[in-house]
Amino acid sequence: MVVQALAFYLFAAVTVACGVMVITARNPVHAVLFLILAFFNAAGLFVLQGAEFLAMILVIVYVGAVAVLFLFVVMMLDVNFAELRAGFAKYLPIGAVISLILLVELVLLGAGWAFNSETAVIASSPTPPAADVHNTEALGMLLYTKYVYLFQGAGMILLVAMVGAIVLTHRVRAGVKRQRIGDQVARSSKDEVKVVKVQTGSGI
């Protein structure tokens, strides 16, 4: 138990420290790398909670794919950060308002849970022992039965977002030479090569 507590404080401290570093790091690439470290430590916290499926998915999806693309974009950007910092005071009020709203929402959520009369009922409902049900299975059971419409709806929204992004950025340009694999494979020497017997000295 001592080891678990130590691991928790280690992961939690590193996560928070990384969160601070993300917004204070001067170099945007360093900021993204700190974000990745924060994701990684959050995955560690999930493992400590026994939610190993969520931990692995966090690493695969966020660290392995989203953050790679993010890093990719940030490395390619050529932004002047002195210029960005100049607008700091201008955008401070709106940033403060947004963060205040988020804080209030989080507090409301927590209070709503704590003071809800049904909370005790839900908390006392029987749960199968962790050894019997793997959390991958438990999540699947819940997502694909009780919440199947919400789950499918979320999937559709993401699909629409993806199609929208492609439609918005795709331009049809004239005069682009493209490789058509089908045409290349369909060619044969019979149609394309002409063997000509040439009389010496006469030319074709």
């Binding site: 990745i36 499926f53 392995g64 693309l69 990719f72 490789q179």
Partner: protein, 344 residues
């Protein structure tokens, strides 16, 4: 207070020291043979490609060139580590370490034989997938930290390539999981007692192998280090041991991917047929043989095929593999439901 005389019998010994000691011992049992395999894989690669091209390969250092890997290692160890002036120092050193560490930690969940596994976790295959998807960071950080155009171009190519092929690899893994009904690697191997998965899932096996080539940046997908246009890409600024760590990491990753192929499709430690002469041989030998076979295919491919052009690589990943694997996942699920073969 801890009494020094009873310290060894105390709770510290049984709860902390002993488990840590056993784990460290098991880690050494995995890592040492792995590093020796990596050393000899580099020799095997040069020998195999040499024979395929009617050359002899390394044959001077030691009998049949058997000491060549150690000579190479000693050379790299004795060279000077050069850190470019404009580089990001910490990240420049950190990138090769990350590549090497990631190529080793993945071995924690690989089952070498029935029960021979360091960490028998429920989400073993997801762990492997997660670790292999982290591999891209070593390369992308190296490319960026070097502060060099060639290194950076190599890193960007590699990032796009690895992310693209992970998608189809993920679907291949999902279709295997549908049959097995468990994410545990030992369960996946046990399920192949009737038939190894490469027979019913042959197209997936081929796609997984090709994606593994792309994921490890091996020929014909070695665009991140295309020496013709990028003068060896992301590792161009690296020297001595920093370079050696990249090299070791790449080869350890090759062995890991071969191990994954063996576990997912070639029946892991299981003998080909469960009768007398075959099932007397220990499972770990079968597992090693299967890994060696897949590794031979890696080398064979390198000696045979020319490098892909970058747009062809992307086309193959996104327009061929992704739709096909997606279709195969749906088809597998359909067959399993239709014949009521779903794992309980």
């Amino acid at each position: 207070m801890v009494n020094p005389e009873t310290w060894f019998e105390g709770v510290w010994w049984s709860d902390y020291v002993l488990p840590t000691g056993t784990i460290v011992f098991f880690i050494l049992c995995i890592v040492l043979p792995l590093l020796i395999s990596v050393a000899y894989l580099t020799l095997a690669e040069r020998k195999v490609i040499g024979w395929m091209q009617l050359r002899k390969g390394p044959n001077v250092v030691g009998p049949f060139g058997l000491l060549q890997p150690f000579a190479d290692g000693a050379k790299l160890f004795l060279k000077e580590t050069i850190i470019p002036a404009g580089s990001s120092r910490f990240l420049f050193i950190f990138a090769p370490m990350l590549t090497f560490i990631l190529s080793l930690v993945a071995w924690a969940v690989i089952p070498f034989d029935a029960g021979w596994v360091l960490a028998d976790i429920n989400v073993g295959i997801l762990y492997l997938f997660a670790i292999s998807s982290l591999g891209v960071y070593g390369i992308i950080i190296a490319g960026w930290a070097s502060n060099s155009k060639y290194a950076f171009l190599g890193a960007l190519r590699s990032a796009a390539q690895m992310v693209s092929y992970e998608v189809s690899m993920g679907f291949v893994i999902v279709s295997v999981l549908l049959i097995v009904g468990s994410l545990n690697l030992s369960d996946i191997v046990e399920k192949q007692k009737t038939v190894w998965f490469f027979i019913p899932m042959f197209p997936m096996f081929v796609i997984f192998f090709i994606s593994a080539l792309a994921e490890t940046n091996r020929a014909p997908f070695d665009l991140p280090e295309a020496e013709a246009e990028l003068v060896s890409g992301y590792n161009v600024e690296y020297s001595a041991m920093t370079f050696a760590l990249f090299f070791l990491g790449e080869y350890a990753n090759m062995i890991l991917m071969s191990g994954m192929t063996a576990v997912l499709f070639l029946g892991g430690w299981l003998p080909p047929v469960d009768i007398a002469p075959f099932n007397l041989i220990p499972g770990v030998i079968w597992f090693a043989l299967k890994i060696a076979f897949v590794l031979f295919c890696f080398l064979w491919v390198r000696a045979t095929f020319p490098r892909y052009r970058y747009d062809q690589l992307m086309r193959l990943g996104w327009k061929v593999f992704l739709p096909f694997t997606l279709f195969w996942v749906v088809a597998t699920a359909g067959v399993l439901v239709a014949f009521d073969w779903l794992p309980k």
